[in-house]
Structures are given as structure tokens and as C-alpha cells.
Symmetry: C2
């Protein structure tokens, strides 16, 4: 799957400017790539509040308020965790929307149940039902992270436009 992060982030920028809403991110497997992609655009600071990259579970719990039970029962890579990360980021960062990613970027860390390329992405908007998708990306670590970033930006655009 070919990605074009520059074009997608520019599209997001134009939607944000039109709707005058703010957003933030909570990134696990994308590890800051979403933040890096959107902050490549000068002027985005008017709409972008920031990100929490939660590589460790302690950060997921202590900063994003993901429940310990959720992590224990479903694991860090799960739709429940993705939802709580997005809602936690929206509330902690204090923005209108937040998008989250949690998955296995590889090349290590995959299992039969949770293979490399599995990524859950959630988008939480104030007063809207949080949406979450299960994705199966393929390719190198770099490609998987880029595909997850593009999907996250597109979900955000879709939710803002709704």
C-alpha cells in the first residue's frame, strides 16, 4: 500500500482550518511519526496540541489513563486500549479530537494471535462516539508505521468532516 503522508497531512490541515477544531494524538506503534508528520507543516500549532507517545504501559496508565484491567485483559495491542488511549489523549491534552495507534510494527514482537502489521486505530471526538478500526498492514517496519499514520490521519479527517 503506497502512502503519501505529505498530501494527507495537508488535507487534514485544510479541514482543520475550515472547521476550526483542535486535535492531539496518542501513539504507540507509530512512535511519534504522526506528530512528526503533522508538525512538518508550519502553522499547524494553531490546531495541533501535541502527542503522548506511550511506548511503555506505565505511560499508557499514568498519562493517558488507560485502565490497568484493560491492559491485563486485552493487552496493549487491542481495540479497547486504542479507544481508551484516544479518549485519554483528548481529555488530558484538552483538544477537540484525538487519534491513537497501538499495534505491532515489527520486525520483532509478533505472535500468532497478534501478528506483525496488526494495528488498532481509534478516533475520539468531543460529544461523538469513539470509532476504532482493526488494520492488517504489511511490509517493513517503516512501511507499516507509514500506513498506520496515513490511516490515522484519514480517520481523523473523516470524523471531523462528519
Amino acid at each position: 500500500m503506497k502512502t503519501d503522508l505529505k498530501t494527507t497531512s495537508e488535507k487534514l490541515f485544510s479541514v482543520l482550518s475550515e472547521k476550526k477544531v483542535t486535535f492531539g494524538t496518542a501513539e504507540s506503534c507509530t512512535g511519534g511519526l504522526i506528530a512528526k508528520t503533522v508538525t512538518d507543516l508550519s502553522g499547524i500549532s494553531e490546531y495541533y496540541y501535541g502527542t503522548v507517545v506511550s511506548y511503555s504501559n506505565s505511560v499508557k496508565q499514568n498519562v493517558l489513563n488507560v485502565k490497568e484491567d484493560t491492559l491485563k485483559q486485552y493487552g496493549a495491542v487491542s481495540s479497547c486500549t486504542a479507544v481508551q488511549m484516544a479518549e485519554g489523549a483528548r481529555d488530558v491534552l484538552g483538544c477537540d479530537y484525538a487519534v491513537s495507534t497501538t499495534g505491532i510494527a515489527g520486525p520483532t514482537g509478533g505472535t500468532k494471535e497478534k501478528p506483525v502489521g496488526l494495528v488498532y486505530i481509534a478516533c475520539a471526538g468531543k460529544g461523538k462516539k469513539t470509532v476504532v478500526t482493526e488494520n492488517h498492514f504489511s511490509g517493513t517496519r517503516k512501511e507499516i508505521r507509514e500506513q498506520a499514520t496515513e490511516k490515522a490521519l484519514n480517520m481523523l479527517i473523516e470524523q471531523i468532516e462528519k
Copy 2:
């Protein structure tokens, strides 16, 4: 100034593995580039807890515990803010070391007093005195962000090795 983020992050990885310490980041002007750079390395999750990208002052205050007085008196781009961001990230993320960046990546946002390229970088280690540097980088937005990232990684390596 030429940068080689891949080599620098690999050097950091080897120092982390040797010393068995953990770290996190608090990024403003680098906007997630440090997080993205270190998480390009598979296996870094053992040492890397995450980042808080604080593009807005509310995130600096509410998540990183930067004091409102500091932001008012010295501004977001100041050595005091950089120090509080690094110490806040270390404590909030719960890691051994944290490095922070705050500056003007440009091309917009510069003033006579705080020109494009001015970046403060701080590194806070548990039980060590927090160090902070004032840097004057030049080039495009991309180049300034890359130089700030490389400097931050090098400061972290230096503090861990001390």
C-alpha cells in the same frame, strides 16, 4: 551542519543497553522527530518510555507540569521552560532520563529576541543536576528540527555516560 540521526540513535541504543537505563522525551519544536527517530530502531521499547509532544502551552502545564509563571515570565522558548519540561517528562513518564526541546523551527514564528533556529534543549537525569543548552541552528525547518534532534540525542548520551 550535517546530521546523521540513524548513527546517533544507534549510538544511544548501545549506551542504553550497556547502562540499562530508561528514557523519555518532551518535545516542542522537534514535534515528535526525536520519538520517531529512536522508535525507528526495533527493540528500543525496552529502554524508551515515550514522549510528550507539547505544542500547546496547556499541554506543557497540564501534562508536563511546567509552571504558569515560568511560561508568563520567560516564555515557552526559554531555558527555564526547557528544564521544567525535561524534569516533568522524567517524573510523569517515570523513566531515568528525559530530554526536552523548545524553540523556533520556522519559517514563521521568529522575532528579533527569539529568532528562527533558537532552540533550548535540557536533559534531566534522576539524582543528577539538569543540564540545559542554548542553541542557534540554521537552515530550513526540516534541517533545524534534525539538528535539534541530533543535539538532544547527543546530550542524552553524554549525561548517561557521565
